[in-house]
């Protein structure tokens, strides 16, 4: 067993026993946040390297890895933070520095496949076809229309442990990677992988970013690759993706994400989501502009108004999140529609008009099987927000590892 370690500085190379420390840090450290990039020289026997430290280090199973030590003192924990883990860059990777050091590799759990395939991708597919995938050290996020608010915006965010058993990411942009893809292709690839898994022939689905040539003379194209390893075969689905977003675009996306996560002051619970969806769909023949009004008492009024008809539904005594006040005594006996007008006069209600098709689309998220949904109006943001809530199975506690919400642009009146 022989290792060549090189140094960018003139420091002495680390001793073989230091490798144990290094690899233990790789294995037990907090993933990519501790060690960014580690180069092992090409062609070395990595199984032996694992043997050396007496453990199986998943990261080192790839055959082409180089290791470069670029710090001064291997005993100093701080110096290891600058070490990076990545595949040895191919020639195509030298075109862009940011892409050269970009890595994403993860293993989908069966539960993660189930969540995505059976629930979320169906819902997201109804909302839009083109999505940003935004990968951070802790989250896997689907974003729709976040950089241009000319339609429904949607954010589906998963903590990495909600979907993946092994999740490794590295990039020069704070270990964040973002790109766009065609969701139906992503859905199709996942379905294909899931069917292999369902047949009991697979050891899991591995997802990674890769660059591949689509023809012999063509340039390398970026793909999100789903690799399903069976007993005697490996099924690979390559989903074409856009070039990774530049650091500036990622900053813009992050900023848009933070804006999109602002919550209206009052949210009321949407009564029976599936029935509401059916009910709203039936308004499509009557008109295309929907008026939604929400009071701080827990009232909700949805109606379509045209020159020929006004039709809708009024709900009261709904659950409220955020600012909640009791209805005035004189309005207790009033019908919801009358009470709504009073509440609007008193500044205890908000009303917004929006496209019915946007609202109907947002309710398609019930395909993701949320346990409840809340909606509220954010007047400053000019949008109506619909938040879907998921419980930890078997409890009534919110599952914070999964979140889904939509923002619908309101029409100026």
């Amino acid at each position: 067993m022989f290792f060549i370690l090189t140094s960018q500085s003139h420091s002495p190379p680390p001793q073989p026993q230091d490798l144990s420390l290094l690899l233990m840090r790789v294995h037990f450290g907090s993933g990519t946040s501790l060690i960014d990039d580690l180069f092992v020289d090409r062609g070395h026997d990595l199984k032996s390297l694992e043997y050396l430290v007496g453990m199986r280090c998943v990261l080192f199973r790839a055959p082409l890895i180089s290791l470069i030590h670029n710090d001064l003192d291997p005993q100093d924990a701080d110096t290891w933070r600058s070490m990076r883990i990545s595949k040895r860059p191919s020639s195509a990777h030298f075109c862009r520095t940011s892409e050269r050091r970009m890595k994403f590799k993860a293993s989908l759990t069966n539960h993660g496949i189930q969540i995505l395939e059976k629930r979320f991708l169906q819902a997201l597919d109804k909302i839009g076809k083109t999505w940003h995938i935004y990968l951070t050290p802790d989250h896997f996020i689907f974003l729709h229309n976040l950089l241009s608010f000319d339609g429904i915006q949607s954010v589906a965010q998963f903590a990495k442990q909600a979907l993946f058993s092994d999740y490794r990411i590295a990039s020069q942009t704070g270990n964040r990677i973002a790109f766009t893809l065609d969701l139906p292709l992503f859905y199709s690839a996942l379905r294909g992988s899931a069917s292999v898994c369902a047949a009991g022939r697979a050891n899991g689905v591995h997802v990674r970013l890769a660059k591949k040539q689509t023809n012999s003379n063509g340039p390398n194209m970026p793909f999100l690759t789903f690799e399903t390893q069976g007993g005697n075969s490996t099924v690979i689905h390559d989903v074409p993706i856009s070039s990774p977003l530049s650091p500036g675009d990622i900053m813009e996306l992050q900023s848009a994400l933070e804006n999109a996560q602002e919550i209206p002051a009052t949210l009321v619970q949407v009564p029976n989501l599936a029935k509401m969806q059916n009910f709203v769909e039936r308004h499509k023949n009557i008109g295309d502009i929907l008026k939604v009004s929400v009071t701080q008492y827990g009232d909700l009024l949805i109606e379509v108004a045209t020159t020929l008809a006004v039709a809708g539904a009024a709900y009261c005594n709904l659950g409220v999140l955020g600012v909640h006040v009791d209805a005035p005594a004189e309005s207790q006996a009033m019908k919801v529609r009358a009470r709504m007008e009073l509440a609007l006069e008193r500044g205890e209600a908000l009303s917004a008009e929006l496209k019915l098709k946007h609202f109907a689309k947002s309710l398609q998220c019930c395909l993701s099987e949320p346990d409840s949904a809340f909606l509220g109006i954010a007047p400053q943001a000019g949008c109506l927000t619909v938040i879907f809530q998921f419980f930890i199975p078997g409890t009534h506690q919110t599952d914070k590892s999964i979140s889904l919400h939509c923002r619908l642009p309101v029409l100026e009146t």
């Binding site: 029935k275 023949n285 006004v310 009024a314």
Partner: protein, 302 residues
């Protein structure tokens, strides 16, 4: 909606589904206005097209769970038929189906629909439909039977619909011929090809349920008008194996009558008598009048 003092009519249906079926039966175009006439006996809804086709829907007061009428005279108004159906559809969401109260007029002469809720209910569905002053007086077809005995036949609604649907292939116009000997009804269309469908009375008594004809007659009708009479027959009619009656009047004026159940609620069983037949009180009567094509053979009325 508790006060009825200012309304000409306040009536209530256990479920809107049956009424939607009945209204859909007389809708053959996307944009159609219906003339609605209210009376102490019930509601009549009339739809017509170009003076050649008219449909009348009779909703007797017994059709409704409650019917409070206090107008003088017979209020009439026009309303968009499609919009009325679309609004009634809001009251039939599975799991949300509920009784609906119909009121006329609202503060601005609207037709008001509202779900009937229990006092503990936390939701309410509503619709306000703008009405119009009817600008034309519906044509009175003054249907009179040709000859001393009305020439008519009754056929299973499903069979009639199937026959008319099949006649779409040749298109153009359809000639209906009745001959007494042997008793037979023929539908014949000539256009892109020829197609003739015969209902032999003795051979198909389960399809052709009644037949009254003492002389041969034949009249031609535009296919699109004939099709309008059967195109939206609700599935409940075919499921209940109901019959449709076709009667020929003076000059070949054709009257097509259907019966549509308006008690189609999952929570409320239909009103049935001891013998198992549904009581007629929950039945809506539908009549279509179709004028024959102009180049009619005068020999028919001889």
């Amino acid at each position: 909606m508790s006060s009825t003092s200012s309304s000409d009519l306040v009536c209530r249906l256990d479920s809107a589904s049956g009424l939607i079926d009945a209204l859909s039966s007389v809708r053959w175009k996307r944009n159609q206005d219906a003339l609605v006439e209210l009376s102490e006996h019930g509601i009549v809804l009339i739809v017509e097209e170009s003076g050649c086709l008219q449909a009348k829907l009779y909703l007797k007061r017994e059709v409704f769970a409650s019917y409070e009428y206090q107008a003088e005279g017979r209020p009439r108004f026009a309303v968009s038929l499609g919009l009325l159906i679309d609004c009634l559809n809001l009251f039939t969401v599975p799991g949300l189906s509920r009784a609906v109260e119909i009121r006329y007029p609202g503060p601005d002469m609207q037709l008001l629909l509202e779900s009937v809720e229990s006092s503990s209910s936390d939701s309410c569905i509503f619709a306000e439909i703008r009405t119009k002053i009817p600008d034309t007086i519906s044509w009175d077809y003054n249907f009179q039977p040709a000859g001393s005995t009305p020439i008519s036949f009754t056929v299973k609604s499903a069979a009639l619909k199937e026959a008319v649907d099949d006649l779409e292939w040749p298109g153009s116009s359809v000639q209906i011929t009745l001959q007494p000997n042997p008793p037979c009804v023929s539908f014949r269309a000539e256009g892109h090809g020829d197609l003739q469908i015969d209902f032999m009375y003795y051979a198909n008594t389960d399809l052709l349920m009644a037949f009254h004809c003492d002389q041969q007659i034949f009249y031609r009708y535009k296919y699109k008008f004939l099709r309008a009479t059967t195109s939206n027959i609700p599935s409940s009619v075919t499921k209940d194996k109901r019959g449709s009656k076709l009667t020929f009047g003076m000059g070949g004026l054709l009257k097509v009558q259907h019966l549509v159940s308006v008690t189609r609620s999952s929570t409320q069983p239909p009103h049935v008598d001891a013998s198992g037949y549904q009581l007629p009180s929950r039945i809506a009567y539908i009549e279509f009048f179709v004028k024959p094509e102009a180049d009619e053979d005068p020999m028919n009325d001889a």
